[in-house]
Symmetry: C3
Subunit: 138 residues, 3 copies
């Protein structure tokens, strides 16, 4: 069984760390799949997806601050759109995460949440969610 | 249904950013799978796989230039083969991407393409493509 | 068919590069799945999963040394637990790897092994292994 849905997320800043765990969990519930995997993928090249701590907002702030220090917006880039840093940061954090689905739910660690990493916002972002596996028997 | 194929890509430089979208799409078409996922994985440890912009070649140039500035080839490394930077860069961009397959095609954003990231070429690289999902009904 | 198992790995240092290939292969063998994929995922936010060279231990040493130079433990972070570097490094190397399963085994390159990347140990880490695909016919 394969279930596919695209969701929209409006970001609010040039760089924005947004918890999308609840939106992804709603799609997994809709899918009726009880056992398998869930792939959460960005359809963009300047916004990525990662998993990180859901408890203390300073984690996301530190992650983005340090990443920005390593890959600054202004540098000796050739790409004319002024967002080469966004493209590199996206490949560094990755464009998707894949998580297990077990007993009808995403299996995650107690501190984990799935984050959309906006690196060139604010924009409306489209995220693809693919759930694949087994539904409950008849 | 699972369809597995290995493809070969010859790289031309020590670091080389190569669009492999069309080769991957050809394997998905061969698979006859209409709905599911496609996993594209490097069989190496000094060449990775990522997704990034397919329109302007300066993006790949900037991504590799900045990555090389952060992780230079020459540094106080212990590994004797002179490619410790290649190993780290590979883990940073990642060794595989997984993308949704829907209506028999890879679903991708308009600016997205799948790239082989060569970090220690030129070499012949082997890339595994695994397509898994449902074929059309009888 | 979906097979799910959680394994425990005890790490020994704050940063620790641990080959978990044999543990993952044992789960794939238990699953009886002959064709499909294997998802290896960290349930944490300060320990990641990657693939890299299994032959020369200086590779892991260089990878961690350089990563630590780029993202030092001590910096102008706001998160009070003193492990903001661990959170960023985890998102940089990634929290999971997905590998093909073919003829009942993980398909990997000759130099590849799956590594647990401990960035805030020593701790007992829980790793989820999800194998999905086809079992042999009757």
């Amino acid at each position: 069984m394969v279930f596919f849905k695209q969701i929209n997320i409006q970001t609010g800043e040039r760089t924005h760390w947004i918890d999308i765990q609840s939106q992804v969990e709603a799609v997994v519930a809709d899918s009726k799949i009880v056992s398998g995997i869930c792939l959460v993928s960005s359809t963009h090249t300047t916004a990525g997806i990662t998993i990180n701590e859901n408890a203390d907002a300073t984690v996301g702030r530190d992650v983005f601050w340090k990443l920005n220090q390593l890959v600054p917006c202004q540098d000796a880039y050739h790409h004319s759109e002024g967002n080469s840093d966004s493209h590199l940061k996206t490949s560094v954090v990755g464009l998707s995460v894949t998580v297990p689905v077990h007993h009808g739910k995403i299996i995650r660690g107690i501190w984990q949440a799935i984050y959309l990493c906006e690196f060139d916002g604010p924009r409306m972002r489209k995220i693809n969610i693919t759930v694949m596996g087994e539904t409950a028997g008849p």
